[in-house]
């Protein structure tokens, strides 16, 4: 059992928790993820590490409430326990050879993008961050991003905060002005990452994306997280859990990933509603 050391509601659908898991905290690096189960009957879900406190032995997770599991997790409070918490899994984000980096975060993906930005910042790199949200009340981690970035663009779809428009807008402007980066790293919804890749492609700047497919074991056993890379004209199957979750965005077949990601959408929606009703009935 793993204790919830701290819980903060970041916005109506996004929650931050610090989980006491010293072995994971000692190792986890930006870009890696964990697998958790809320209770004995629960499903295993992957969540990307949003930070660690190695001294306290805690790992920070930030999650959006999308299904039954995240709904149940959100009903836990500081001091409560969750059943399982395993990791760190996946390959950490590669930082070697990069001096100037452009970090693009979308929605709850910013929770994953932030530790990556901070890592580069701590290494002394120049960090430009672009973070995008649907509207003002969904903005998260703005202050932390500001502290970890040399320049920060905050975008909202509806213009209720920061600049109006999606994350590709400042990208286009920077690229158009001839700004160069050693790498672009995009973390967010698949559709956003796809557009960031397309916006970056003409510049030839390497562009990595963080994939978040459906997973079960997360350790290289089930193959549920497979995705296809188009490499040298061939289609190659890779597993996000052991080969990723970061991949070369130019190679990823996003349309396929989006299709696979929707496999259980109906199930997830129904399960979440059932869980909500359960909590309502309990109150």
């Amino acid at each position: 059992m793993y204790r919830i050391a701290k819980k903060t509601v970041l916005n109506p659908t996004v929650t931050e928790m610090w989980i006491h898991a010293p072995l994971v905290a000692a190792k986890a690096e930006p870009g890696q993820f964990i697998i958790l189960r809320v209770d004995e009957e629960g499903e295993r879900i992957p969540l990307t590490v949003a930070g660690t406190d190695r001294e306290a032995g805690t790992v920070r997770i930030i999650f959006q409430i999308v299904g039954a599991t995240t709904e149940k997790l959100n009903h836990k409070e500081a001091g409560d326990f969750i059943q399982d918490f395993a990791g760190p899994l996946g390959v950490p984000t590669v930082t070697e050879g990069i001096r100037r980096v452009l970090i693009v975060g979308g929605g709850v993906g910013c929770a994953i993008a932030y530790p990556v930005a901070k890592k580069f910042h701590d290494l002394g790199c120049e960090v430009v961050s672009v973070i995008g949200f649907r509207s003002k009340d969904l903005v998260i981690l703005e202050d932390e991003f500001r502290a970890a970035s040399d320049r920060l663009f905050v975008m909202t779809d509806d213009g209720s905060y920061g600049r109006q428009g999606n994350v590709c807008l400042p990208l286009g402007e920077m690229f158009g002005a001839g700004e160069r980066f050693d790498k672009v790293i995009a973390i967010g919804p698949l559709i956003m990452m796809k557009f960031v890749v397309e916006a970056t492609r003409p510049t030839g700047i390497p562009c990595d994306v963080s994939m978040n497919p459906i997973m079960i074991d997360g350790t290289g056993m089930c193959g549920g997280c497979r995705l296809t890379l188009c490499r040298d004209g061939r289609r190659v199957t890779k597993f996000a859990c052991v080969d990723g979750p970061d991949f070369d965005g130019y190679e990823v077949d996003f349309d396929e990933a989006m299709s696979r990601g929707s496999m259980y959408r109906e199930f997830e929606a129904r399960k979440r509603e059932e869980t909500c009703n359960l909590f309502k009935a309990g109150k």
Binding site: L23, V24, K27, R37, E41, G42, E43, R44, A68, T69, Q83, D84, F85, A86, G87, P88, L89, I216, D217, T219, G220, M221, C222, G223, G224, R226, L227, T228, T237, F239, V242, E256, S259, R260, S262, M263, Y264, R265, E266, F267, E268, K271
Partner: protein, 475 residues
């Protein structure tokens, strides 16, 4: 005098095929005491014991059967458990027809003694009874780490614990048991049996730490730094193979590992589960091993209207255990032999990109095969029959064509040699790897194989680890 009665094994009482095809309860009930004693009586107690040589861990078969005949069931259990740490499991999942029973003299004229069924009877009887608390061995002060709690790890752990070693088993998943829990379904190996075997191990003082992924949470070097004297790697088979044909990413295509893990470990077979799985429809399982049979029979129980086994060779080459093939047929699984898949087709609505049916499997294109010349292993190679393409109408495809080794330990352990296929290289007689103090066995070494051969490797390594540690501290 060989009368007709003694020519055949006593059948094991089992659930009716039509009933059991719709539930996850165990297929066979096991022998009653009466049948067990009668079956034991068929053993000729041969002096040269050919059956023992057919067993990868050399269970003293005639000796335990003799105890059954004398109705001394605890005596029988002691004889088996002296060499096997998982008798209730092996009695159920070993391919006896290719091991002990294949060598049985009774089998020359008629059917061999039902050794597996008797082993199961003895183990179940022991586990159901009141157990004397296991004698905790005197600790010798040395510690060994075991990676993985599938069949090879616990075998190695049990043997070492009995010798007085302090053993910690590290398991990546949230439940101990490895493939016995995530892979083999409830109807073939009830999870309470695996749990009992795990509890027996704990009673010996073995510690089991779940949620620890070696190669990630801890590395091999960090385990040594914690003061362990030796490490056994029994991390299992690894990533599923796919066929490399178009359409394998459509929704409704599963690896057998994923399909079985969802159903078994994550309990998607239950009413209203938290982990989803596609139930019902028409299902094709590609492959002919035990895993393929397990997936096919699971699909049936999840409510599929039709389940096909699609295998590119013929019934004769089918690698699955005979009893599983027989049970699958009885339950209504249809065998499409000498079929080879060439493409999986998916739904596409050109007028509506948001159509929720988009991307789901609609069928699988196959081609007919015939058997050609034998390959280097002596198995006849399947050859495509030109122009024989046709479409199999299915909604779900489960791919059960084997696995490739998991890269996590290899990639984080310097000096650990692996072969071309990624399997850990070991000395066969000891399980010693290229790293000092590191031993390995089971599927991580051989690629997907049987529970009992993994157990055999665990035993060999336990002996070698004991010797290695004794030598290390000799001077």
């Amino acid at each position: 005098m060989a009368d007709m009665k003694t020519m055949k094994k006593h059948p094991m009482p089992e659930q009716d095929a039509k009933v059991r095809a719709h539930n996850f309860d165990e297929v066979s009930y096991g022998y009653t005491e009466e049948i067990a004693v009668l079956e034991a009586d068929r053993c000729l107690n041969c002096k040269n014991m050919p059956c023992v040589s057919g067993c990868p861990v050399n269970v003293p078969i005639p000796a335990f059967i003799e105890r059954v005949r004398a109705k001394d069931y605890e005596g029988a259990y002691e004889r088996i458990s002296a060499v096997s740490s998982l008798p209730a499991v092996c009695g159920r999942v070993c391919p006896q027809e290719r091991q002990c029973e294949e060598k049985c003299v009774r089998g020359i004229k008629g059917e061999p003694v039902a050794i597996g069924r008797l082993e199961r009877f003895v183990a179940d009887r022991h586990n159901a009874g009141k157990k004397a608390p296991a004698a905790t061995p005197t600790p010798n002060g040395r510690r060994v780490a075991v990676i993985g709690s599938g069949p090879s790890g616990p075998t190695c752990a049990g043997d070492l614990a009995r010798l007085g070693y302090g053993v910690t088993v590290f398991e990546a998943l949230h439940t101990a048991g490895g493939v016995l829990v995530y892979g083999i379904p409830e109807f073939r190996l009830p999870k309470t049996i695996v749990q009992t075997e795990v509890d027996n191990l704990k009673a010996l003082g073995v510690e089991i730490e779940t949620n620890v992924i070696i190669g990630k949470t801890l590395t091999v070097d960090e385990i040594f730094a914690k003061g362990y004297d030796a490490i056994f790697i029994g991390s299992g088979a690894g990533l599923p193979n796919f066929m490399g044909i178009p359409g394998e990413s459509y929704k409704g295509v599963y690896s057998a590992n994923e399909f079985l893990t969802r159903s078994n470990l994550m309990k998607a077979y239950k009413e209203d589960p938290e982990t989803p799985i596609m139930k019902g429809g028409r299902v094709a399982v590609v492959g002919g091993g035990n895993v393929a049979m397990d997936a096919a029979r699971t699909a049936l129980r999840l409510g599929a209207e039709k389940v096909y086994i699609v295998y590119r060779r013929s019934m004769e080459e089918l690698p699955a255990r005979a009893e599983e093939v027989h049970h699958a047929e009885e339950e209504g699984v249809e065998f499409r032999l000498l079929y080879n898949p060439t493409e999986i087709l998916g739904y596409r609505n050109p007028d509506d990109r948001r159509d929720p049916k988009n991307g789901f499997v609609t069928g699988m294109r196959c081609v007919r095969m015939r058997l050609g010349e034998p390959d280097e292993q002596g198995r006849r190679r399947p050859v495509e029959i030109p122009g024989s393409e046709f479409l199999l109408d299915v909604d779900v495809v489960v791919i059960a064509i084997g696995t490739s080794p998991n890269p996590l330990i290899k990639s984080t352990t310097e000096g650990l040699e692996v072969n071309r296929r990624g399997g850990i290289v070991v000395e066969e007689a000891t399980g010693q790897t290229s790293r000092e103090g590191v031993f390995a066995g089971g599927d991580a070494v051989t690629g997907a194989a049987t529970v009992i051969s993994a157990m055999g490797a665990g035993k060999i390594a336990a002996r070698a680890i004991d010797e290695y540690i004794k030598n290390k501290y000799k001077s």
